[in-house]
């Protein structure tokens, strides 16, 4: 069945029990994203310290692919500098669109399956787009990262 190719068990586990889900206290950067096609709504909040992601959490209501992607993403970017996050976001988009992207960690490659389902690419990419937009959206008096 085709949906088993898309919804691999590891994705379903992330969507049923997402990691890093919920509000983040004292975020330095935050942004909202939404997918007008299907109604996915997601918020990404970050605490950036010394130019690198110290903590990343997400919240909202989204489909299994989007939720799993956000769950894996928030785990993956901890410790990365802002510019490394942007590079990885670009490579991840390529993975989702084409099925392969340079330097994408093996753990994230399970999401490459969406490239066979063009309508679902946006679901996988939305958390990453929201993340990049969060880097550019400082909360309060913070600065855009990378500065």
């Amino acid at each position: 069945m085709m949906d088993n190719e898309l919804y691999q068990e590891v994705l379903l586990q992330h969507s049923r029990r997402p990691r890093n889900f919920g509000p983040l206290e004292n975020p330095t950067h935050a942004a909202d994203g939404h997918n007008a096609l299907c109604g996915d709504e997601i918020s990404v909040a970050l605490r950036i310290e010394n130019g690198a992601v110290a903590e990343a959490k997400f919240s909202g209501s989204a489909c299994a692919i989007c939720t799993a992607s956000a769950s894996m993403m928030t785990g993956e970017v901890k410790g990365l500098t802002c510019s490394a996050v942007e590079t990885l976001a670009g490579n991840f988009r390529q993975l989702a669109k084409d099925g392969a992207g340079p330097d994408v960690p093996v753990r994230l490659q399970v999401l490459g399956g969406v490239h066979q389902f063009p309508q679902r690419v946006k679901c996988a990419v939305l958390p990453w787009e929201t993340l990049v937009s969060a880097l550019r959206s400082p909360v309060g008096t913070g600065e855009i990262c990378p500065g």
């Binding site: 069945m1 085709m2 949906d3 898309l6 919804y7 379903l12 969507s15 049923r16 939404h34 007008a36 096609l37 299907c38 109604g39 996915d40 709504e41 209501s61 989204a62 489909c63 299994a64 692919i65 989007c66 939720t67 389902f117 309508q119 679902r120 679901c123």
Partner: protein, 406 residues
Amino acid sequence: MDITKIRGQFPFLRESVNGHPLIYLDNAASSQKPDRVIRRMSRFLESEYANVHRGIHLLSERATTAYEDARAAFAGLLNAERPEEVIFTRGTTESVNLLANTWGRVNIGTGDTILLTEMEHHSNLLPWLHLAQETGARVDFVPVLENGAALDFEAARCLLAKRPKLFAFVHVPNTLGLENPVRALCGLARESGVTTFVDGAQSVGHQPVDVRDLDCDFLACSAHKMCGPSGIGGLWGRQELLSAMPPWQYGGEMVDRAYFNKPATFRDPPARFEAGTPPILEAAGWAEAIRFLTETGLEDIREHSVELANLAARQLRGIDGLKIFGPDVRQSGIVAFSISGVHAHDVAFFANERGLALRAGHHCAQPLMRKLGSPASSRASFSLYNTRQDVEALVGIVREAVAFFR
């Protein structure tokens, strides 16, 4: 109504998905087309096509006849007093924009109120919000009751008594499975001298709709939701109101006399509002769809769709964590639902793999879905070619999806 015979007339039913027969439950988004509409359009292109109202040659005459016959068919469907009261547009959305840009610009000013409801589709929301922003008018909303069970009629009464300039509201909303009491609402509006516009996108062609009986001032709908082609729809309005409206698009066909050095004069409606070459082929197809639906019986079509929706709602309610929006008993063929822990987009994807076409998302009614606490929901909408077996397939697949994702 002989469903087997009806199904035999819809070629799309011969399609399959992954070896599953195609079940189409996305009728509220757009309906499928019967053979005779497809054949009518093809025959029109083969032997009747030219531009309309322009030539004196044979084909232009045939095309003009078909186009104006379509106007008469549409006017007849609505029981309008005369064909000149209907304007062809691209659909409901363009009809609302036409109204906002013509009647709206003449009649709405700073300090005036436009009354809408909380259950409007974006198409009957955004043109009015834009007009209000540009003119300094205010917009009020008649609220929906808990879970979208009904329009708050008492609130409508109070808000109409404040004499807004316009009450624009939907007849059959595309998510809630209810039908608004149009005649009663128009009656209240009339008592307060409020002009009414009815969004008939989900009602016209799905059930009998009689503009004289409803006593509204304007009504719009789209052909593609009633077995006709996309790209055409219409706006009906009372003749005296249409006659007082200025043009909104300028060009050929709508002009009476044009000059280099003084203002042009414009034709009477409907021509005044049909600048440029209209959707001629689509008009011929729509007229055939109207004949098909009328011959099938609009009351029977409604009864059939509502019966299937009720059957689906009853069975879906048995699924743990599934919530259906709108009244307990369906008043239209629409069933929108959300399932806790399972996102609508996943349900629709899962269903498609099994041949079932569902809609997922906010259904172009973002503020309403937000108020109902569900940014995304799944929607099944039934039409004349759907069956009880389709309902069983729907319920089985939704159960399977819940087991898979939860």
